[in-house]
């Protein structure tokens, strides 16, 4: 419990890689990647939604699909079931989510479940654009139907492109959507790379959103630092955010790739960044020795866990860590 402005670093026990997409069979849409884990706690299992890819097409291009794996609630390293089908179809010709639905974040709403997801389209001058859509499930989260063919969080005057990485939360009776918005495309050796920052929107109905309109998290490694996966929870009397960040150029390696950052806030709008609190970094060897990304923190049965990605941004799956330092979750 903290009474001063600082925060004692978290202490995590790594439980190792939990799900490897290559272990799945008879699912042609699930060949590589298990990205952006996001939890839904059910009676007997913890359902972890993730995004995956079938093999690339003849032109080397991927589509992303979203699915889930059910983990035994008594032992989260034990897989009970894997989705039989992707949870959501791809969008129609010309729509924002024609070429991918990734990542996804799920929350109960009005007796149903709602998924917020980034939809991917392909462009000509840059490789892609994304916007955030919404879909509903009436079968307990196995399948979702989109509320409409367009996005609920589109590009706007100061968020011009690459709206992605949605995480849906409900605090004080109001929906909060944390997401990323692109700020620029940088041409790096002829390849267009997006720079993005963490943003927030609020809503009472989950469909009509008011954008907060400001970057929530300052940059640390460089002015063009890219930040993703803003994962917010309330504990010990304050809001906490885990996220990931990387350099804007030459980032597909150990030195400049994703790491997990941290910030805390009294009110969800003013955030103090302090990455040392995250308390987790790359391992000396193994599946998470190069980079760490897409943190997601959740609590179940008195324990707090973090799901995250390792090397290759989830190409080989996701893992879990268990919090061993004390935390009063939700209060």
């Amino acid at each position: 419990m903290q009474t001063d402005a600082g925060q004692v670093p978290f202490v995590w026990e790594k439980l190792g890689k939990v799900f490897d997409p290559k272990a799945a069979s008879n699912r042609p849409w699930l060949k590589e990647f298990a990205q952006a884990p996001a939890s839904l706690v059910l009676d007997d299992v913890v359902r972890i939604y993730f995004s995956c890819r079938p093999p690339a097409d003849a032109a080397g291009q991927y589509v992303s699909r979203s699915a889930y794996v059910d983990l035994d609630r008594r032992d989260l390293t034990r897989i009970v079931a894997v989705a039989e089908q992707p949870i959501l179809t791809l969008g129609e010709l010309g729509t924002f989510d024609e070429f991918g639905t990734y990542p996804v974040s799920v929350i109960p709403h009005d007796g149903k479940l709602r998924a917020y997801y980034a939809g991917w389209t392909r462009c000509v001058s840059v490789p892609f654009n994304t916007a955030i859509g919404c879909a509903e499930s009436t079968d307990g989260g196995k399948s979702f139907i989109r509320l409409g063919p367009g996005p609920v969080i589109p590009y706007s005057i100061d968020e011009p492109f690459v709206m992605s990485g949605p995480k849906i939360r409900r605090f004080n009776g109001v929906y909060h959507l944390f997401y990323i918005a692109g700020t620029k495309w940088k041409l790096v050796e002829g390849r267009a790379e997006p720079v993005y920052r963490i943003r927030m929107a609020t809503s009472t109905d989950g469909v009509n959103w008011a954008k907060h309109g400001h970057n929530l998290i300052e940059t640390v490694v460089e002015a063009d630092e890219a930040q993703a996966s803003p994962d917010v929870f309330f504990a010990d009397g304050r809001y906490h955010m885990m996220f990931c960040y990387r350099y804007s150029e030459d980032f597909r390696n150990h030195a400049r790739g994703y790491r997990i950052g941290y910030a805390h806030s009294p009110d969800l709008t003013h955030w103090t960044r302090d990455d040392r609190v995250a308390g987790i970094t790359v391992s000396a060897e193994g599946w998470d020795s190069e980079m760490l990304s897409y943190p997601h923190v959740f609590a179940v049965d008195g324990q707090v866990y973090m799901a995250y990605l390792g090397n290759g941004v989830g190409r080989e799956g996701f893992g879990l860590a268990r919090l061993v330092s004390p935390m009063s979750w939700g209060s």
Binding site: T95, C123, S125, P160
Partner: protein
């Protein structure tokens, strides 16, 4: 009914245009000055390789009866957007209003897509020099896709009333192929949004305000509204979804509707009855209409054959 035909009033090949543009003067839209009328239009530069174009905004200052061209913009009016932005590959058209002592422009920005040819969104630009040049209020659009308007939001026309800004605009409904091997064609309709400040807009989201005349795949674009003699008049253009480039019977024509309250519209194309002249510049197609008052006289500016490749013309409509 048409009271008088002025014929073609502007040919882009008669002038030196900014951005090395040669042909096309599309979607003329006027801003009235005491001594002249400034007509903005979209012209085109050719990309390296010669196969693709980019639309740019330019203008011509014309006599108030649109009989002569006084001056043409000599420098770029508005640069295209940055890499990856909604208006990177073209701006066409622009709708201009006077607001807060400035000139505000509502742009339609174009960006190229992989599976379909293009997407569009509405941007907002502001001029502090009476409309000679414009700057963006931000890099993104003020009106883009939404839950029930998934793409191709554009062609904004803004009308400032005493208490509210109204916008009529185009939104896409679907992309369809004429046959399995054909490139996709788009279906779009006209929608309505309102705003208190001209910046933050509330859409009706997916509500088509005009009925179709030639079936559910009718494409409706470029609304323009004028208050004249106690009622609101709207012109727009509409066409078939396929074959509209090459088959005259399927190309753009100009439609008409009227309203007393800006909420409900009665479509009555026959009341305007704008026909192309046989063998004339607008014989095969009439498109991108714009209603404007000049010295109190209503003019209808529009493009003719080939989507305005060879310029624009005007008529004086008899607005009842």
């Amino acid at each position: 009914m048409i009271q008088r035909r002025l014929g073609k009033i502007f040919d882009p090949t008669d002038h030196v245009l900014p951005n090395a543009c040669v042909e096309f003067a599309q979607s003329p839209q006027a801003l009235e000055f005491p001594e002249f009328s400034r007509v903005y239009f979209a012209t085109r530069s050719v990309d390296p390789g010669g196969k693709t174009f980019r639309s740019h905004i330019a203008f011509a200052d014309m006599a108030k009866d649109f009989s002569t061209v006084l001056r043409v913009a000599s420098k770029p009016v508005l640069p295209l957007g940055d890499l990856g932005s909604f208006d990177e590959h073209g701006i066409f058209p622009i709708n201009v209003i006077r607001n807060k002592g400035q000139v505000w422009g509502y742009t339609c920005g174009w960006n190229r897509r992989a599976s379909v040819s293009v997407d569009t969104a509405v941007g907002l630009v502001v001029s502090d020099d009476d409309g000679e040049t414009f700057r963006r209020l931000g890099p993104g659009p003020i009106l883009g896709p939404s839950l029930h308007e998934p793409f191709l939001v554009g062609d904004a026309f803004v009308l400032k009333t005493a208490d509210l800004f109204h916008m009529w605009y185009m939104f896409g409904q679907r992309w369809v192929r004429e046959h399995a091997d054909a490139v996709p064609d788009r279906v779009y309709k006209i929608g309505h949004a309102t705003s208190r400040d001209g910046i933050a807009w509330v859409k009706e989201d997916g509500v088509q305000i005009l009925p179709d005349r030639i079936g559910p795949d009718e494409c409706q674009a470029l609304p323009s509204v004028l208050h004249y003699r106690g009622r609101f008049h709207m012109v727009f253009c509409y066409r078939d979804v396929h074959g509209f480039r090459s088959e005259p019977g399927k190309g753009y024509r100009i439609g008409y509707a009227h309203s007393a309250d800006l909420r409900t519209w009665t479509r009555d194309d026959a009341a305007l009855d704008l026909q192309g002249g046989a063998g004339d510049w607008d014989s095969d197609m009439q498109c991108y209409p714009h209603l404007t008052l000049s010295d109190g006289v209503p003019y209808l500016l529009y493009n003719g054959n080939s989507f305005g490749r060879h310029g624009f013309g005007a008529v004086i409509p008899d607005l009842a």
